[in-house]
Amino acid sequence: MTELILMAHVLFGVACMITTVWIFVDVLHASETNQARIRRMSWAAAVFMWLAFCIAGYWYVVFYKVDKAIILKGPWAFAHSFFMETKEHLVIMLLVLVTYLPIATSNNLVANKDARRVALWVAGLIALLALMMEGEGAIIAMGVKVALLAK
């Protein structure tokens, strides 16, 4: 069950990242035909990230202490002391930005070049931060693996 919770948070995190890249490309080609889709996808990205955040938060608060103890006894203690510590705080910035995305895309993106620029910068930042979170998550998982292999 705990593995399912863990995988669900990765699934929604990846869904947020893919959705945001989609939005970035759609905003580059903003027109009357895709503006409504950009707004819907912005809400979808926010919902995906909130789901990922809440599921990961539940797992972190309830189950992570077991993994943390394993990681800290293994050869990759930095998987917790650096990667988990930074991930759990950088992800709050990601959540704030993705909550802001539907506001940034609520302007008239077809007629307004400045509104498109704001949406592109925010979507780009979200995609990069989400990719960084996925990478950090992989290192944390590897921290558990190498600690168990070293036993």
Binding site: F53, G57, H89, I92, M93, T99, N112
Partner: protein, 106 residues
Amino acid sequence: MENTSVSKHTISFGLSAALASVVNALLVVAKEKNQAVLAGMQKIAGHQWVAHSAIILILFGFFGWLFARANGGQGLKMTVNRLIGTIMAGVVTGGLIIIGFYLIGD
């Protein structure tokens, strides 16, 4: 002619996101360096990270709302270049403080 203004909520919540990013990082340093802060956050929500997340999200919502009410309800005014620069500066500064702290400060 192309429209070049963005809504007051785009500016106010964009600025709020930049501010929340920096406060997020400063709160990391404060709770890691001061046990009383950490214990207080633990007490608020049962887990320091839950309290930390809630504080930042509430700050984001509050300051976004506050900035939108400035100038007699017209919201804060600034150019889009400055808005983008402020968001970028806030996120990069917040990120660097967090990474730098766990890399060398902790």
